[in-house]
């Protein structure tokens, strides 16, 4: 498609701005800023140089409390703070909730965004909004970030592995949204079980399997002759068939096999299902999978917030810290962006059930790794973490930041089948320059 055939105002402007920049000796950031990058996108991309080739997106499902984790308020009254103490980290001036003691040693890699805010206070709507930058509409499904990344830049895909994998996500994951289903993530239901059905059945020998493949072609000869040319769906099935068989035969398949990891690795990450998911995500990224999401369920602490914090937060802490250490040791941290996200925060004022309720007004996310300025805190909430007082950040802004870190244009417009325009960074999202590096 010739970009110059579509010179609407937007393209013309960006074309001019790009030309102007190169003409005046200002180079475009990274190899990935395209002709379609707006000035805004190009600038954001140039900050990070599109370092993030891979993303590991850790999603805490249920709405993770912010005041107990990433935005502690040790000075707040006890009816807000509860029994959880704040601890120092390896960055002066940044504190975290006491359960994140391993994470505290990695604060120098992290950018903590404490000014997240949204209007979506229900699980389904909040989950959707965070994943897509848009509000849940019963009449359309928007794509998630992994799908966007692979749609905007389909070239950078290595090997026979799928470019987008989700681990332990539920039915309501937006996936590819209105993009073609081939962009949909490959879902792994259980990290310890790995990729299902990827191996021949026990009672099928390799010879029999190969014979089966050959027979299939023969059986389909007439069908292929007749329909191969005129039917995209038939060709797609043949393509998928070949991809699946290659995947079965490829060495990359072991990317899904956690049993190949050392005992030490397993111990470092932890024993919980989530821990295994995080370990799997490192493995997948190592093998070239571009975007991996791992979900950790059960954060909806309407009651007994602190008992549950004791149970769950150490799991997150250990896995997250192990991931950052691991990525760093393997030289992957400089090309991998690690995200911690959730649908909303939880009410700072503790309720009668020793719990916290849904709180979209203010909550916290974290970014670490490629393209991120470590040891940063962006945005601030008030004394009780109840209101954002500086640098309000929406899900759109956050996702725009992910885009910029990946060298993608957060504001490139793509159309749904119903001809509505959408962008990776949502309607109005802007990348947060202060956390990009």
């Amino acid at each position: 498609m010739n970009p110059f055939n579509q010179l609407d105002d937007q393209s013309r402007r960006s074309f001019l701005s790009n030309t102007a920049r190169t003409a005046f000796g200002v180079t475009l950031g990274g190899a990935s800023a395209s002709w379609f990058s707006s000035a805004e996108a190009a600038e954001a991309i140039s900050k990070s140089n599109g370092k993030a080739k891979n993303v590991i997106y850790l999603y805490m499902a249920g709405g993770m409390t912010h005041i107990d984790t990433l935005d502690p308020k040790p000075e707040a009254p006890s009816e807000y703070r509860g029994p959880i103490k704040a601890i120092s980290t390896n960055v002066d001036g940044i504190q975290l909730g006491q359960h994140l003691e391993k994470t505290a040693k990695h604060a120098d890699k992290m950018a903590i965004i404490r000014s997240m805010t949204s209007t979506q206070g229900a699980h389904s709507q909040g989950n959707y909004h965070i994943h897509t930058s848009y509000t849940e509409r019963a009449s359309i499904t928007h794509p998630s970030m992994g799908a966007w990344a692979n749609k905007l830049d389909p070239e950078r895909l290595k090997g026979t592995l799928p470019p987008y994998v989700t681990v332990h996500t539920g039915n309501n994951h937006p996936g590819a949204g209105f993009f073609e289903p081939s962009i949909a993530p490959l879902p792994v239901g259980d990290a310890e079980k790995g990729l299902q059905n990827a191996k021949r059945r026990g009672n099928v020998s390799e010879a029999a399997f190969n014979r089966q493949i050959a027979l299939r072609s023969k059986l389909d000869e007439q069908f292929a002759d007749r329909f191969g040319k005129g039917q995209r769906s038939v060709r797609a099935y043949d393509e998928m068939f070949n991809s699946a068989v290659s995947l079965m035969k490829s060495k990359d398949l072991e990317a899904f096999d956690l049993s190949k990891e050392s005992r030490d690795s397993h111990a470092a990450y932890g024993t919980d299902k989530f821990s295994k998911g995080v370990l799997l995500s490192r493995r997948l990224v190592e093998h070239g999978v571009r975007f991996v999401e791992v979900q950790f369920g059960g954060f909806d602490w309407h009651s007994d917030n602190f008992t549950k914090a004791d149970e769950k937060l150490p799991i997150l802490d250990q896995a997250y810290a192990a991931l950052l250490t691991d990525l760093e040791q393997r030289g992957l941290l400089e090309s991998t962006l690690v995200v911690i996200a959730t649908e909303f925060g939880r009410t700072p004022k503790i309720d009668d059930d020793a719990g916290r309720n849904h709180f979209p007004k203010a909550f916290s996310f974290a970014l670490a790794g490629a393209g991120i300025k470590g040891g940063t805190v962006y945005g601030e909430t008030d004394k009780t973490a109840s209101n954002v007082i500086t640098d309000k950040t929406t899900a759109s802004d956050f996702n725009a930041t992910i885009a910029a870190a990946m060298g993608l244009s957060h504001d490139q417009v793509l159309y749904s089948p119903t001809k509505r325009p959408f962008k990776m960074g949502g309607k109005t999202g802007k990348p947060i320059a202060d956390v990009l590096a």
């Binding site: 849940e136 019963a138 289903p181 239901g189 027979l215 024993t271």
Partner: protein
């Protein structure tokens, strides 16, 4: 484009059901004639008529959603009767499998969620019944659109509760599903591509402006019991009282209100399962309304899109008017849209290219046919079974599929039907039938039983007196307290178990695991559901009504011996149906048939295909019992391709069925072939 034959004007307004074979055949013939004339005018030729084997496979899949069994195939192919094709269609249309496939269509279109609160279950049961009883389409739509109240009293309200808290989106869905228009954008601004303005959108939604997602019956019940509603304000006498009297009155009121709130908690889950239409509640323009024809916060008066005028509508009647307008035979789209959907259901593609977006579909090649179908739908009184029967009896249904697929979004000439992949349910149901034979009559009554139990309990709850209600409330409070205590205990035990696991102390870990289970059982099987504690008779009778989730009833048959239509929807992530594109119930008609790698892996190596070679089931058993290789080949071909092998195929593949092992390999190859996955 002119028709040489006059359209069938002689069709009376409503016809007796089932339609006589003559009327069916005449109408079908008319459809064929219109098509042929249109194609001739364009210089196009209709495709040839398919052979028996192709017709057999296509009929079973398109009418009842599964492959024919080996025996069913034999019977049809061996028959020498002249009218066997027509008779096959009639037989299949009247068989239970027909309802099965049609129900899948409905649940996909309406985004049915069986497990979503009680209202999902009730709606599911209601809809299934409607399909089985062949309730006319306009009646199904009308009842849903006019519905209000509690789902136990009116399960059709599940249609609105599906989008609880998202009224505007619900309106958008209604207009898409029943009127084939996309107005979704207009929620926030004037629609960029169509004519709907934001004001018009709001005017339409204003018919439902009285919507409140709460259970009015709860309030009334509480008031009946306590004598005051939870949010009552002081009455007029208050102003005339002395200071002392006021204080006493206030305290008494506060006590009553506290009691009322307490008892109201019994109904806490009912708020999610009911809808009230409040006459004096009106829809207002949003705070960011930007156009000149109104100010943010302005009340919006109801108004219709395209067509009928909204005369003065009394507030109580808004919902009814809305339902009537959408489902009116005079609505320019209501009848056409369903006719087009049914056309696509049979032939794989709509006469109007995008069934959900008539505003942006190109002009159909045969607009006269679109109008004719509308007349036929009206004449059958929205009887979908009869309408479909007419389509199945056309010559078009017997033509070869086109070699070229329709260009997505473009109008299609229908020289033949469209090649398509089997739907997820059709693949699954075909496997099930291969393994267990014809199980079309294995219905799942458990949903209806669970629902009946719930409704009975609900009716009891609503008939309780003050004393009983208080007992129930106490029981609920106690149960809730116990539930939280137990959750806390379990949480602590789990933490300990994890620590033990990390320390490598697996014995301790297992011990703790057992303790967790025992603790959970302390509360009874409904630990997570928070149902009422046992002991009190009123509480026990009401327990189904106040539980968090509907009662769990075991179906009569295992899942693998039932059609997909008998299962809860949507299919769970990772299940066969989900992997093959079954609807996730998030948007209308979300089911797709796109290829993915996990699908292929599943067919190649999954449990389902191995079942076919598992000696325990019908298919494998029969296969193994056959001694002559040529008969074995016939059996495989008939069972999976619904055709006998040609001479050439026999020559090529006879060698593959000489031994049991090679036969198994061959059968697997067939299952992964496109010829198997697609229906011609």
């Amino acid at each position: 484009m002119k028709f040489l034959l006059p359209l069938l004007v002689a069709v009376p307004t409503i016809l007796a059901k089932p339609l006589s074979p003559e009327v069916v055949r005449d109408t079908a013939r008319e459809i064929d004639e219109v098509l042929l004339e249109g194609q001739k005018a364009q210089g196009l030729k209709a495709n040839a008529i398919i052979d028996d084997a192709t017709f057999l496979r296509r009929s079973y899949l398109n009418i009842i959603g599964r492959l024919p069994t080996h025996d069913e195939a034999r019977v049809f192919l061996d028959s020498k009767k002249d009218d066997k094709r027509s008779k096959l269609v009639d037989t299949l249309v009247e068989s239970p499998g027909f309802n099965s496939r049609l129900f899948n269509f409905w649940s996909d279109l309406l985004r049915l969620k069986t497990r979503e609160e009680h209202n999902g279950l009730g709606w599911h049961v209601w809809l299934k019944n409607a399909v089985e009883k062949n309730v006319p389409y306009n009646k199904i739509a009308g009842e849903m659109l006019a519905a209000e109240g509690h789902v136990a009293e009116n399960p059709a309200v599940g249609y609105y509760l599906r989008d609880r808290g998202m009224l505007l989106d619900n309106v958008s869905n209604t207009v898409q599903v029943f009127l084939g228009q996309q107005i979704g954008c207009a929620q926030c601004h004037d629609h960029p591509f169509d004519d709907t303005t934001q004001m018009e959108y709001y005017q339409l939604a204003a018919f439902l402006g009285g919507t409140e997602y709460r259970f009015a019956g709860a309030r009334e019940k509480v008031r009946e019991v306590v004598g005051v509603s939870p949010d009552k304000r002081p009455n007029r006498k208050f102003a005339k009282m002395s200071k002392d009297e006021r204080r006493k009155f206030s305290m008494a009121m506060k006590a009553k209100q506290s009691e009322a709130r307490n008892i109201a908690s019994v109904f806490r889950y009912h708020q999610r399962n009911a809808l009230s239409d409040v006459p004096n509640k009106e829809l207002k323009l949003p705070v960011d309304y930007q156009y000149k024809d109104g100010k943010p916060g302005d009340v919006v008066k109801p108004g219709f899109l395209f067509g009928l005028d909204a005369k003065d509508v009394s507030p109580e009647k808004r919902r009814d008017y809305f339902a009537k307008w959408v489902t009116s035979p005079e609505n320019p789209y209501f009848t056409k849209v369903i006719s087009n959907r049914m056309w696509k259901y049979v032939f794989g593609y709509g006469l109007v290219a995008n069934p959900d977006d008539w505003g942006n579909s190109p002009k159909p090649h045969y607009p006269g046919l679109v109008e004719y179908l509308e007349k036929a739908m009206l004449a059958s009184d929205y009887d979908l079974k009869q309408f479909l029967r007419i389509l199945y009896q056309t010559r078009l249904f017997q033509r070869e599929v086109t070699v070229e697929e329709p260009a997505q979004g473009f109008s299609f000439h229908f020289q033949g039907p469209v090649l398509r992949r089997l739907s997820a349910e059709e693949i699954r149901d075909s496997f099930v039938t291969l393994a267990s034979g014809n199980i079309d009559s294995n219905t799942n009554n458990s949903f209806e039983e669970a629902w009946d139990e719930y409704v009975e309990s609900f009716n009891f709850l609503m008939s309780t007196n003050a004393k009983q209600l208080k007992q129930i409330d106490n029981a609920v409070d106690q149960a809730e307290k116990r539930r939280r205590e137990i959750q806390k205990e379990v949480s602590l035990l789990r933490t300990k178990a994890r620590e033990a696991k990390e320390a490598g102390n697996f014995a301790a870990m297992r011990r703790l695991g057992v303790q967790v289970r025992e603790t959970q059982q302390k509360f009874g099987k409904s630990y997570k559901k928070g149902s009422a504690a046992t002991g009190n008779p009123a509480a026990m009778k009401a327990s189904a009504a106040i539980a968090r989730r509907a009662p769990n009833v075991r179906p009569d048959h295992p899942e693998y011996k039932m059609r997909a239509s008998e299962l809860a929807v949507p299919a769970r992530g990772g299940s066969f149906i989900a992997e093959f594109g079954g609807s996730d119930a998030e948007s209308p008609s979300a089911a797709h048939t796109q290829a993915t790698v996990p699908q292929t892996l599943r067919l190649l190596n999954g449990l389902e295909t191995s079942l076919l070679t598992n000696k325990k089931n019908a298919f494998a058993r029969t296969l193994r019992s056959i001694e002559a290789p040529s008969r074995r080949l016939d059996f495989l071909y008939l069972s999976l391709y619904s055709a006998l092998p040609t001479k050439a195929e026999k020559e090529t593949f006879l060698a593959e069925v000489k031994t049991p092992e090679s036969t198994e390999t061959f059968a697997r190859a067939i299952l992964t072939s496109n010829r198997f996955l697609f229906v011609q």
